[in-house]
Point group: D2
Chain length 138, copies 4
């Protein structure tokens, strides 16, 4: 398993008139967590696109447990738990640390496909991405 | 079952550098579909909030089948298939009509709770919402 | 002068914790007003891009006079007051009709350039856009 | 004069089908720059709201000089050049550092008012905000 934590602060524009972070914003936090997780593995998404591979999101899910508020610093914990085949799955936890306790605000996941940018055809997991993940997978 | 169709056009800001509508935007289309569906039932969300009830999203899901492009007119088809209890579930289809054919771009759902705005405590389904839905449910 | 009115409803995601529409959203209303204004002139932006022309925003401004609230139906009034040369200027008024009165919530403008998509070089106003505007300009 | 630099990375969702950061996003970068600038002065916006003061944006402007691209790290340089009276003005520069050179992508400003949250009436600059700024103003 590979786990990566990345901190993001809740901005004013992230909130709605309920006074909490809008439900759609969590998917942007997933995107940022995933981006930084891949960068930390040496497979930044810009590099992937430069190699002619696009990774569209195939499906995604979020369950909301506790609200997030303006100016909160949240941890996006991203996990890759198994070696991808045709698709790669990322699991997410959105966490707020309070007095030494991790409060879980949201859990979710998404799966992404690998597509050849030129032909728009699906690809299997590129070998160089596999190599980056191998040290962390059984 | 209650079904309601609402059309939304894909704006420039909805697209990303992949040239297609960004995955997070579909959840905003769900929100707009749900808003207009509830309005069509006579239970507009503004009215609900004015009655001291808030409806936070508890969980949501989207599966992406085909990309949406700039300037597309999409149909958000919202369905309520069963009488809600503690929570209400909405199912969504995002559809693009092409030459008389309905192409399904995305399917999804979300569930929302009923909360007393003053006490922040969960509520059962308010009777007046139940009354609005009754004609459509078995 | 050419004037075009287009109605947009304020969505939940447009609001922030102040309970009003977020200041950045007005620029999206400008974009939608401009898009529909150009479509009404027969020079839809998709058609423009298909002809190899891109129109980046060069500068823009907004002054906020009154807040907009959730579920408000707002009129985006877009004006083109003079024949463009190297750039085209759009003026905007965001209006809420209340009991027969037009309340002005926001005024603004932006200017856009014409760029050759292939060469990324600036263009003068294409003749076919000029032809569309001519009937409305002195 | 008070100057504060804050770095923000361009996310995928910030881009549009032109392949560059969407014009509306710069105003969110202004917001984040302003937020961190005020925090650095000891007058974080959350603290201001907790003291019963709201700061709505009165007007804002942006001029776009060069495009920003996905994954760029941009500097938001925020300046307060004069002691505010009824309103406070922030000037912004969005900068991309390339090989030791600062490339200016965008300049802009906004002005914000001080409003009593309870009465919704305008306020003059609160003394404690004035005290925070005094060391930097002539």
């Amino acid at each position: 398993m590979y786990i990566y934590d990345f901190e993001i602060r809740v901005e004013y524009v992230d909130t709605d008139k309920m006074g909490i972070m809008h439900n759609s914003r969590y998917f942007l936090f997933f995107e940022r967590g995933r981006t930084e997780t891949m960068r930390s593995l040496g497979i930044g998404y810009k590099k992937i696109e430069n190699k002619g591979v696009t990774m569209p999101v195939v499906e995604q899910f979020a369950r909301y447990l506790l609200p997030a508020f303006y100016d909160d610093i949240l941890v996006v914990r991203t996990k890759i738990t198994e070696m991808p085949m045709a698709k790669i799955r990322f699991d997410y936890e959105i966490i707020r640390n309070e007095n030494g306790t991790e409060n879980l605000l949201c859990v979710g996941y998404n799966t992404l496909a690998f597509v050849d940018t030129a032909t728009n055809k699906p690809l299997r997991l590129p070998q160089w991405i596999k190599d980056s993940l191998k040290p962390y997978m059984d």
